[in-house]
Each structure stands twice: as C-alpha cells, then as structure tokens.
C-alpha cells in the first residue's frame, strides 16, 4: 500500500447534487480497487491560474488515499473519461519525509500543534504570518533570506 494524494478540478457550473455524486463516484473507484480513502477535502470554487477549455473557475477537490501501485492508473483513467473533470493530478506521498511542510519557524509560529497529520492546516496560518516576517529584510533587499538568522528569536 502506498500513500497518494489526488487533486481534481470539477466544472464549476456543476450543481451541488451532481458534484456530490461525482465525488462519491471517484471515492467508490478507490474503494472498488482495494484502496481506502483517508481524507476528502473540498477546497471549493477557485479561480484557475489559466483558462482550461475556456473556463476560468473550477471546483477543487482534494483526496488523500492509500492503495496498491496499480490504483492511480485506474483512477486517473476514470477521471480522464469524465467530462466534468477539468484536470486531475495524483501524487505519491513520500513515506520517510514528513509530507506536511512545517510552519515557518522564524514567523514565531507555535510548532507544537504540528504533530497531528493536518495536511492543509499549516497552509493558511503561514500566509498570515508571512507579511510579519517580510519587514525584517529592510537593509538587504537583494538577500531577503539572509537576515533570517538575525531576526529576533524572541519566541524561541
């Protein structure tokens, strides 16, 4: 069993019921092929960074699952057939590395709540703290990373 994660983009024009049905259907494909769905996270409607088939918006769905090495191929075949799926991507999660990116330490973030396998939890708070870290790099605009060691380590 390997760990994988899948992100697919559904047509934003799809109504609620049809969307739920599709999400169920793909979860069913995972289950039917001996996999198990670990987590389903609907990111919701987002602007696409570029138009795909003249669409500017899409409904993002994130699925974490475990399964045999043959499963991703079968799953992406199913995703490819479905016309409501604009785009999909399956990525294998590496086991040895912590796949969750730790929060930026220098932003004085509490690292303690990192332990539970929250896949996207650290993403949002990190964004809020990024501006706070930016003003430190005033003296050397070209070497923004360099002052990292000098930033007041008050919280550590």
């Amino acid at each position: 069993m390997n760990k994988y994660e899948l992100i697919y983009i559904l047509d934003a024009a799809l109504e609620e019921a049809a969307r739920k049905e599709l999400i169920e259907k793909f979860n069913g494909v995972i289950a039917a092929n001996g996999g198990e769905v670990v987590k389903v996270d609907e990111w919701g409607k987002r602007r696409l960074a570029y138009t795909i088939d003249y669409k500017t918006e899409g409904y993002y769905v994130y699925v974490a699952f475990n399964g045999a090495p043959e499963l991703p191929r079968e799953l992406s075949r199913n995703l490819g057939i479905n016309e409501s799926v604009i785009r999909s991507q399956i990525v294998k999660l590496l086991d040895k590395k912590s796949s969750v990116k730790p929060r930026p330490v220098r932003a004085a973030a509490p690292v303690t709540e990192e332990a539970p396998a929250a896949v996207e939890a650290p993403v949002a708070p990190a964004a809020e703290e990024a501006p706070a870290a930016a003003p430190e790099a005033t003296d050397a605009p070209a070497t923004e990373e360099a002052p990292a060691t000098e930033t007041p380590a008050s919280e550590e």
């Binding site: 992100i7 983009i9 990111w43 696409l48 960074a49 570029y50 795909i52 899409g58 993002y60 994130y62 785009r87 999909s88 991507q89 990525v91 590496l94 590395k97 912590s98 796949s99 969750v100 990116k101 730790p102 930026p104 330490v105 220098r106 896949v119 996207e120 993403v123 949002a124 990190a126 964004a127 990024a130 501006p131 870290a133 050397a140 070209a142 070497t143 923004e144 990373e145 360099a146 990292a148 060691t149």
Partner: protein, 86 residues
Amino acid sequence: MSEERAPRRPRGRKPRRKVCAFCVDKIEYIDYKEFRDANSRMRRYINERGKIMPRRMSGNCAKHQRQLSEAIKRARAIALLPYTAE
C-alpha cells in the same frame, strides 16, 4: 563565465553569503499545495511573469531548489499557478 565571478571587488561591503531559507526552517518536503494561497510566502520564488526564481537570487541550496521547482511545476499542472503571466 569566470568573468562575473572575478574575485576583485573595487570597494564597498562584501555581499553576504545567502542562506537557504528552507534549510533554516528545517523543511523536509516542499508541498505544492502551499501555492493555494495567493499571498503565501512561497509566491516570492516566482516573479510576475510566473517564472521560477533562480538559485543565485534566492540562495536556496540545490536540494531545496529541486524540491521547489518540482512543487511549482505540480502547482502549475493543476492551475494553482500560471505557466506564464503577463
């Protein structure tokens, strides 16, 4: 090529050796999902045109630059980031 790396420096302070920000933060794996936020701190490794910032500017180490470029490319594939932007 060797010209730009010439050791002589007429005057002024020495440029500081850049440090890989990911090493400083002890990051093991750069997740492409971080590009989900429009103003995530990862965005500064991409310029306005959507290009990946070179190592000589960011100061990243080779290992993290590889991970970063992989993450950016994955994010591009699912339209979290543009391939190109004007």
